[in-house]
Structure formats: C-alpha cells, structure tokens
Subunit: 369 residues, 2 copies
C-alpha cells in the first residue's frame, strides 16, 4: 500500500493493443510507459532516467525525438531494460507471439509482472505453463491473463475464485469463439428458418471482419482448443497441449492443404460450396430432433476429458439462444449444484479484450503498490 513508481512496457499495437493504449491514456494514476513496441520498431525512454514517459499513442510517440528508437528487441533485451528501471515493472504483451510468450518465466524471475491476452504461453506445452507459474510462485512478480478466454468477460478470474475458495468444479461447457458463435447463430438460428448456405455464412462473416484473414484459422477449432486447455489446467487437469484431445475441424479435408496465402484463401472460399450439403445435413439432422447444432468446448473434470466440436442443443437452452457473436461459459460446481454459474457476452473485439487487459493491469498495480 506504499507508493513506489511502476514502469510499464507495452508490446503490440494491433486492434487490442491500440484499444488498450486508449484505455491506458484515460487511466488515473497510470504507471509510466517506458517501452512501446510493434513488430518492426521499439521506442524506449532513455536510460538511466527512464524519462520522459512515452505517450500512449503510437503516432504521437514515434514522432517524439526525446525517445530512443530501435528495431525489435529480443525478450532478454526487454527483460534487461525493464528490470533496470528504478522501480517495479510490468510487461503488457498484446501480441500473439509464441516466442515472447515462452520468455514469460524469464520476465517473472527478473521481477517483471506480466499482463496479457496472448493465449500462446498458457495453452502450448504443459512444461511452459508449469514454468510460468513456478516462476510466479517465487513471489517476485505477478501474471494475469483474463483476456485469454472470453476476452473481457470474467471467466479466468471466476474460475480461479471457485478453485481458490475450495469449490469443486465438475464441468465447464460453452461457446468460446465469437466467430463460430456468429456462424452457427446465423446458419442455424433457433427461431425462424435460415436458408443461408454454410459457405455463404462463412463468406459473409469474413466480409464483416468477424473471421481471421484466413477463415480456416477459426474453422480448425484450434483457438477454442487453446482456450479449453487453459480452463482445464486451471481446473486442475494436466493437459499436455491443445492437440492432446479431440478437436473437430470444420475444414473439409480436401481444402486443408490449400496454401495460407491470399490466393489459397480465395480458392478455399471458392470451393467451400462443394461441402454445403454436408453442413445442411448436420443442420437438418438436429432440426429433426427439435434441436440446433452449435460448436462448443467442454471439460469434464472428473473424467479428465476435454473436447471441442459440434453438438446438438435443445432450442430452449442458453447455448442455443446465443445472439450475434456472443460467448457463453457455464461452470458446473459442487456448490452451485444443478444450475451452473453462467457468464455470457461479447467474447471478441478490440475494446472488450483490451478491457480485460486494463482491468488486469489495475489489479497488478494494486498488488504491487
């Protein structure tokens, strides 16, 4: 509760990064921004004074002649710069860079706290997960990653509270991809009927900017698998990696090997209508049972089972009734009994993802002070 100066490094100025910088600029008592980097360039406040602070806006910052400019710094170089600051420091990683993620233990052991929406560190090999939390347990720095699942929705914090207070989480289930939520809510709505073909819905989603540049990066289910890996690990399961459990890909096998180039993506979308019949059959099969088809992930803690893929849901279920690109996450626990604790809302988008990052940063600052 004393007031020591805190120094902040921020990497990534994409959608989430820019939204975060906007929120940071409006934060009362914000820490001093001393490192701001995008993939090709790094701005730092000159050492040893670590002053002037960097304005929380890439355009303004990069035009400031008092700041030191360099190319991309390696993780050890960033560690060295931040850990030499005359106070505690925090790194906000707004990238999805696996190399930076695998250096988190290095940062934490050097006393640099980590706040990030980057799923890579927490959903890759189990050994990295263990190393990160072993490093944090040394007590020199903190790691917060709310926005790795459900963007700004309070998913990670709620699960951690359930576990920390001794509740027994038995099952976690939900829709974890805003993109796949939109695709199925549009393709197989609960009320009324949609005549849209699957390929049309995918193309429309891409045009609206709801998919990754290559929609196959959503359709392969790996983003959902990474989120489930994180939740399962917090719930106590030793999940080796996001490909160590069944993940149903929605990419037709015949189109999986098309190159990940703009041309490959065009070919993929051009050939996707060949498979509309398969998706229509899945939809009709569900309809005959009075249900709808949705792409979900689940963790059965008792059975140590994680899976990701299509499932049928009753039309009056919460999952079937989702709107737009909302996520929904249900926690079944011993204390909550038969009715789960449910969190629902936008699970993607720059502003809400950044909100989770900013809220985490506030908590880290409160604990470091």
């Amino acid at each position: 509760m004393s007031s020591k100066p805190i120094y902040l490094g921020v990497i990534g100025v994409g959608g989430v990064g820019t939204a975060f910088l906007n929120q940071l600029a409006r934060l009362p008592n914000a820490p001093s921004l001393v490192l701001l980097a995008r993939s090709s360039q790094t701005l730092t406040s000159p050492a040893p004074a670590y002053s002037p602070a960097i304005p929380a806006d890439w355009q303004t910052a990069s035009a400031n002649p008092s700041l030191t400019k360099s190319g991309p710094l390696s993780p050890p170089e960033i560690v060295s710069y931040l850990s030499s600051a005359p106070g505690r420091s925090v790194l906000v990683d707004n990238t999805s860079d696996p190399a930076l993620a695998s250096a988190y233990p290095l940062f934490l052991r050097a006393g640099i706290s980590i706040v990030t929406p980057n799923k890579k560190a927490f959903s890759s090999d189990l050994s990295l997960w263990k190393d990160i939390f072993a490093a944090a347990a040394e007590g020199k720095a903190l790691v917060y990653h709310e926005s790795t699942v459900g963007a700004g929705l309070p998913v990670i914090s709620t699960l951690r509270d359930l576990v920390a207070t001794g509740d027994e989480v038995t099952r976690i289930e939900g829709v974890f991809s805003g993109t796949l939520s939109f695709l199925f809510n549009t393709f197989a709505p609960v009320s009324g009927s949609s005549s849209a073909k699957w390929s049309e819905v995918v193309t429309q989603a891409k045009q609206l900017g709801y998919t990754e540049p290559d929609p196959r990066d959503d359709l392969n289910g790996m983003d959902v698998a990474r989120k489930l890996t994180i939740l399962a690990r917090i719930a106590g399961l030793e999940v080796q990696s996001p490909d160590s459990f069944p993940v149903e890909s929605l990419i037709p096998a015949e189109l999986a090997s098309l190159p990940a180039t703009p041309d490959g993506v065009s070919q993929f979308l051009a050939r996707l209508p060949e498979f509309d019949g398969q998706m229509a059959a899945l939809k009709e099969q569900a309809e005959k049972a009075g249900k709808v088809v949705r792409y979900v992930g689940s963790v059965d803690v008792g059975k140590k089972e994680v899976k990701v893929g299509l499932q049928q849901f009753d039309k009056d279920s919460a999952i079937a009734g989702l709107k737009g690109s909302d996520n929904i996450i249900s926690f079944y626990t011993k204390r909550y009994g038969s009715n789960p604790l449910i969190i629902q809302g936008a699970g993607a988008g720059g502003d809400v993802t950044a909100m989770g990052v900013t809220a985490d940063l506030i908590k880290v600052l409160e604990r470091l002070q």
Copy 2:
C-alpha cells in the same frame, strides 16, 4: 509482496458465517483468526501475544480454555483490539447488523480492512457510503463486498472493472432475489402451465426455507432495493437511500400491518389466499401478451432512474427462462453494445455467499502482503 503477519476477526456464525469458517479452515496460508464473535459472545486470542489462534469452528473454539471469552464487544472495542495486533488486520462481518456496518469508516481509518456480505453499510444513507469510501481512499485499509449483490456471483467486481477501465455503463437489469426468482419461476413458468395459486407458492417457498422467517421481508422488495442501490452507486448515481426510488411491494396493503411475530406471519399466510385473484390477473394479463411476469430491478444510468417491481418479459428472454432460485444480472455498456454482459447463477445460499466472502478475503490478503 513481502510477508507480514495478518490477523483476522470474524463476526457472525449463522448460515453464511459457518460456511465461511469452513472455507477458511481449508484455506492455505490462512491468516491468524484472533477474534470470533456471535451476537451473545466474543472469543479473542489473549493480547498482547494475539496467540493462540482461534480454530475456525465455533464449537471447538468456545471449548478452548486458552481463549478469552467476553460478551458482545462494541465496534470501538473491536477496533481497539484488532488495531493493536502486531500486524495488519482484517474484519470479516458476516452479520446483517446495521450498527456494525455504520462503524466501517472507524475500522478503515484504524487500518483494519473490511470484507463483508452485509448490505447495510453500502445501501443505507448515501453519507455512510461516502464516508466508507473516503476512509478507504486514505489508503490504510481495503473494503471488499462482492457478496452484497448476487452472493458469490462476480457482480460487484465485474461492474467495478467496467467502470475502472472507462467503459460507460448505460443500464443494469436483472433478477436480484433468489426468493422472488423461485416464486415467479414456479408461479408463472415459461413452458407448461402451472395451476399453483400465489399463496400456495409463497407457503411452499417458506416451507422449503427459501424465504426469510417472515416472507414479507422478501415480498416488500427492500432486499432488491438495497442491491440496486449498491449497483447504481458504483455506476455513478448518487442514490440517497433504498427508499428514494419506486419499489413495488408484493405485500397486500391490508396485510402490511400484521405484526412481525410468528403469530403475525401465520395470520399473513392464512389471509394471503384472499389476494390470489389479483396475482392470477397479473399472470393472465402477461400470458395474453405471450409473456411472463417477473420481479426485477433496473438502473438506467443516463436517466438516473432506479426502479424495482413487476415487469412482463418475452418468453424467450433470458430473464423469463431463469430456473430455480437463480439470479441474472445484465450489464448494458457502450463497449458491449446491444448484447449485454450477463452473469447468472445461484444468488443465495450459505456456501455460495461465503465463497464470495472468501474470494474477497483472498484478494485483500494478496493486496496487503
């Protein structure tokens, strides 16, 4: 992040208090329990050593001859005892005592942090709310009160995160009473029809232990009004008191003045059937519009409007579809757009309420360390 000893006082050993003590007993690195009180008796660890610690169980503790026993202590006496402990201290108030609640500023200014599910302090006169947060802002102690709304559901923390990160909360709406949720989910279910009369449902709920000993304490809407007062204040509205806005009471005017004695309660339940026709009419009116009636609270931040009472909802809405005694809280914000951030689940019960208290305590300990 250093490790100073932390001393804990706990008041209240009712349903929530006992569940909390169970969770505390299982907490790794729990702080030292040095004061444990119920309404008629107080146990303390002998000063000046503040040792031995008190076992987290009233029966065991009260049989321990090494502890100091006394009658109820006044708030200033508790402040004096806890603030003289050889380390930081935290008071967990598991009562609904307004006198203790109005002493929170005293505790906070003496460096004693507060963790509580007691709504009184935060939902009574606005001046007490302001005094509490002014005292906390002096920086000597913290105040956490997640379980004052929605029990262990992450309602307060989510709203505070939205506000702190600069989102604009426009509207909050929901079902905030487990008791009233059960009553209306049973009286006017979405699917199928219920022939149960209102008075039968109320009597059944009382028999199941879902209501207060005097069901009028649920039916008057004041519990919901207190929760709305808290949320509205966090969202920035200066609500003077829980009776400064419209609250619809479900107690027939003719029965309001029956005494709050067991005999008065019996008379109330005996005469309630006289008013079944009124409730049936409300239900049928909604049904004709294809809707169901629910008891909800809402805050319109822009219009500075708080209200609590009956409203009709579409049968496919999330509020209409609630099950059992679940709560649901929807936050409409600028960042979340047209689809709100929704939290849903059990909003009453000893274990889940205590979970919110324990999770708050963990956060306070993390910040004090």
